[in-house]
Every structure is written in C-alpha cells, then in structure tokens.
Symmetry: C2
Subunit: 137 residues, 2 copies
DNA sequence: CTTTGTGCAAACGATTTGCAGGATG
DNA sequence: CATCCTGCAAATCGTTTGCACAAAG
C-alpha cells in the first residue's frame, strides 16, 4: 500500500489536484496506515514532530481527496468521519470494544446477488459490515 | 409495524422505562414510519400540530430507547444519526440521490459465512448495505 | 416520597466558512 | 500571473449537559 513519493505526486496530479506539502502529507499518511483515522488523528499525526498543517487544511485536503475518489469516507462510528485510502471494493470489520475498523478483502465472501431487491431500487454497489471484537479486546 | 397504545406502553415498561407522553410519542412516531428519521425530524414531526416535546427530551428519549434495545441507530449519512424502530436483523438500502434509507428484509440475501475472517476477529453479526438510487430519483 | 424525566439555555465537539495572504502549475 | 491552497478565527450544526421543576411508580 505504501507508494513512492513520485507515484503519489503523479496520482494527485492525474486527478487535477495541485500538489502542496500539506495535501501530499495527508494523502501519504492515509496511504501508509491500515487503520481508518479521523481528520483529527491525521492532524495530530502530521504535527507530531513539527507543525505542518492546520486543522482547516486537513479537512479541506480530505474533502478534495474524497471528491476525486482517492479516499473513501467510512461512517461506522458515531459523530466522526473516518477515512480510508483503500478505494478498491472491500468490506469492513468494526470492533465494538475498541472501535477499530479493519478492511476485509472482497473475496472473503461470495458475491451477493442484488436481483431480489424490491423493484424500483437500482443498486450500484454493496458492502458487508461485520461487527464483533478484535484480537486486542 | 404499527402497534396499539397498550402494546407500546407495555413494551416500554417491560424495559424499565417510565412511560411519559414525550417518550411514548417518540417511540410511537418511530414505529409508525418506515423511513429512518433524524432526531431533528422526529422533533419537527411531533411538534407539527402543537409543541409537545423539547429538543433535549427527544434526544434523551432516543438515547434511552437505544440503550434498552428498542431502537437502532443507523449511521449512513454524514454528520447525523438516524433511527430505526425495526430491531430485527435486516439490511439497508441507501439512496445516494435523496439519502433515503430503506430496510431490506434479511431473507433477501443468502446467509454469509463468517468463517473465513482473519483469525483473531470474533464476529457477532453482520449486515449488508446496498448503495444505489430509489424510485423517486 | 423517591426516583426518573422534562425543558431551557449554555456547553461541546466535529466540521465548515470567510477572507487575506501565498504557493502552484 | 491566474488559479487554487493555506491558515486563522469565527460560525455552524448535531448532540450533550447542568440544573430546577414536575411527574411517574
């Protein structure tokens, strides 16, 4: 999942986004982690050593990345958006104990047929969310 | 899904909740609708004719109902919690156009085996979320 | 009567916005 | 050099809380 600086820059440019240190940092940070951090956590992480980004900038970077489809928003915890740089089809596991979110590979479950939905609903995609507890809990 | 006044009162009592007009109204309102309203929408609805409940009361009623398992919180829209009086196992359809949320009966999809999750994850339940557009969109 | 619920207004936390400077393509 | 981005502070929105009063069991 970790990519070279050049690749990241090319990806951002290919989506028409100007490459700034802050935006690069947000996206690179997200690509480098396997958890699903909140905007606040990313901000903390980026400013751990030295201040590099402001709050508003992190929020707007995430918005831009989401708008161009490089980042997905995950709504599983009350009150906060969490972010995921994995935009391939996949499912999620949510730990009710520690609120950890983990990706589940798409192939883990057999494909579900959406043919039996009530007529009138036009389905585009689906995903499975599994609730439980993880190792550390 | 609509139940008699008596049944609703008995249900609330059976969960150890004091039956007040406001709490009754919130629960009855939720039972009577098939959409998945926000706290704000319930408040509006209840106070449409005449003011019956305050904002804080609706929020605390929803909290109480959720705590005893009579109501489920649905997190599919950014920034808001929506509520569902259907606490049976079921799936959800989310309309990306109008943000409508609709229940999908559990039997619509074949049961998924959770046996192939990475070892270490203890699954309790799962649910499928289908994204698409609905009739009116 | 004791406990729990209600209502108001103020407090809160996550996210957004307005606007003046700065950096990018 | 025109456009888009950054940072700050103030604003907004959903939700929670403190506290005095009222109602339920």
């Amino acid at each position: 999942m970790t990519q070279s600086v050049d690749t990241i820059i090319k990806t951002l440019r290919s989506k028409g986004l100007k490459v700034t240190p802050q935006r690069f940092a947000v996206y690179a940070n997200l690509l480098s982690r396997q958890d699903h951090p909140t905007a606040e956590q990313i901000l903390q992480d980026l400013n751990k050593q030295a201040p590099t980004s402001s709050q508003a900038t992190v929020y707007s970077a995430l918005q831009a990345l989401r708008d161009v489809g490089l980042v997905r928003e995950v709504l599983l915890e009350e009150g906060v958006s969490r972010y995921d740089a994995n935009v391939e089809k996949h499912h999620h596991f949510y730990c009710r104990q520690c609120n950890a979110i983990e990706d589940i590979p798409w192939e883990t479950f057999p494909d579900i047929s959406l043919d039996h939905l009530r007529p009138g609903l036009k389905a585009q995609t689906y995903e499975v969310t599994v609730y439980g507890t993880c190792d550390c809990c």
